[in-house]
């Protein structure tokens, strides 16, 4: 960072100061938060740890596996996602208006947030970078079949592709189809088959 400091005085001529490195920008914000008595950033460490260790697709996988083994749960889940997901202990910010959409032989669901990066934190954690990047957000609503084929999941022509743009308060979870030949697996073993990508809808077959 220090190698850029001498350029600061030139910020107003035709050679603007070089961009501050992103690490230095974060440090500047942290310092402002402290010096202006807004809040101590460290006070949020526990929230960050929650993102890293408590939230994540392993939660959504449990919801999916339960729906696969328990038809009544599946019915509750599809009728009103939020309380059904809360039965398994998951909820909170970005997860308090959950809608679960089920893939069937006739329907494939795909979730996107074209306007920003909305994502169901309690069941999937923070979104991967590609979910928030322009290529996915621009193409998911315009050419979902081409996109899914590129990402390894071509969708047969007779399957209705349903794209869900989470543009308001609802957050979506895709319920994938249970893979064939899994009758003997336990709920826990089934959960281990469920991927983040399948619950976003960019992977059709598990």
């Amino acid at each position: 960072m220090t190698e850029h400091e001498h350029d600061h005085d030139h910020g107003h001529d035709h050679h603007p100061a070089p961009l501050a490195p992103i690490e230095a920008r974060v440090a500047a914000i942290e310092a402002v938060l402290r010096d202006a008595n807004v809040i101590e950033p460290e006070a949020l460490d526990s929230v960050i740890e929650t993102f890293e260790h408590t939230m994540g697709p392993m939660n959504g996988a449990k919801v999916v596996a339960r729906a696969w083994v328990d038809p009544e749960y599946r019915e509750r889940l599809l009728a009103d996602g939020t309380p059904a997901i809360a039965e398994l202990g998951f909820g909170g910010p970005e997860g308090d208006h959950m809608v679960v959409v089920a893939n069937t032989p006739e329907v494939h669901n795909l979730v996107v947030c074209t306007l920003c990066s909305c994502y169901p934190w309690p069941v999937l954690g923070l979104p991967p970078k590609w979910y928030k990047a322009p290529a996915y957000r621009s193409r998911a609503v315009r050419e979902p079949r081409a996109l899914l084929a590129e990402m390894g999941s071509p969708i047969p022509d007779d399957v209705d592709v349903r794209v869900w743009d989470s543009s308001a308060e609802v957050r979506y979870l895709v319920l994938p189809e249970r893979p064939p030949n899994t009758d003997g697996l336990s709920e826990e073993e089934l959960a281990a088959l469920v991927t983040r990508d399948a619950m976003i809808g960019v992977q059709r077959v598990l």
Partner: protein, 206 residues
Amino acid sequence: MDGVHDLGGLDGFGPVDAPKTEPVFAEDWERRAARATIAATLGLRIPMPRFRHSIERMEPSHYLGSSYKEHWVTGTATLLVEEGKTTQEDLDRRSGGHFPLSRPGRGVLEPVAPTQPRFVVGDAVRVRAWHPAGHTRAPRYVQGKRGVIVRYDGLHNFADVEAHGGGQIPVPAYSVRFEATELWGEAAEPNAHMHVDLYDNYLEPA
């Protein structure tokens, strides 16, 4: 605002670069950026729509050329300036270079009152070609387009006013289904539907 953040249907971004797995925070600054963002929005009591708008106001080339964590850094710093906790000069000095901030907003606070649902599932609607200058959750790709209500999601605080200091005004929200051909004309893929979550205020009978 019809900004570049409103990515639905925009072409030119190439393939989705989706590694199979990635860490929640790839680098330490990303973890600290998330922490500082949550700290600032909590400490300054910034409603989520206002935070989103602080990112939408980024210089378009900066928005498209940086990661979402850098968006958080830029939006958070912009809000700290707009709340009087720091200045551009202070941030430049602290970061040892140029600290890019978002542009000033052009949004106008619309007079909006709480309302009750005007539509039921199955109703044909048209999305208003509202094109407000400020924050909105009506993506450009559906403005002016016709769809059908497929789900009623209850009353939610209207993001367009909350983003601009208008407080929490509950209005109805729905999921609206669009035919791909209605949105993308001759470029539409077959057998595909796009669903967008829209507030009652965005809609008119079709």
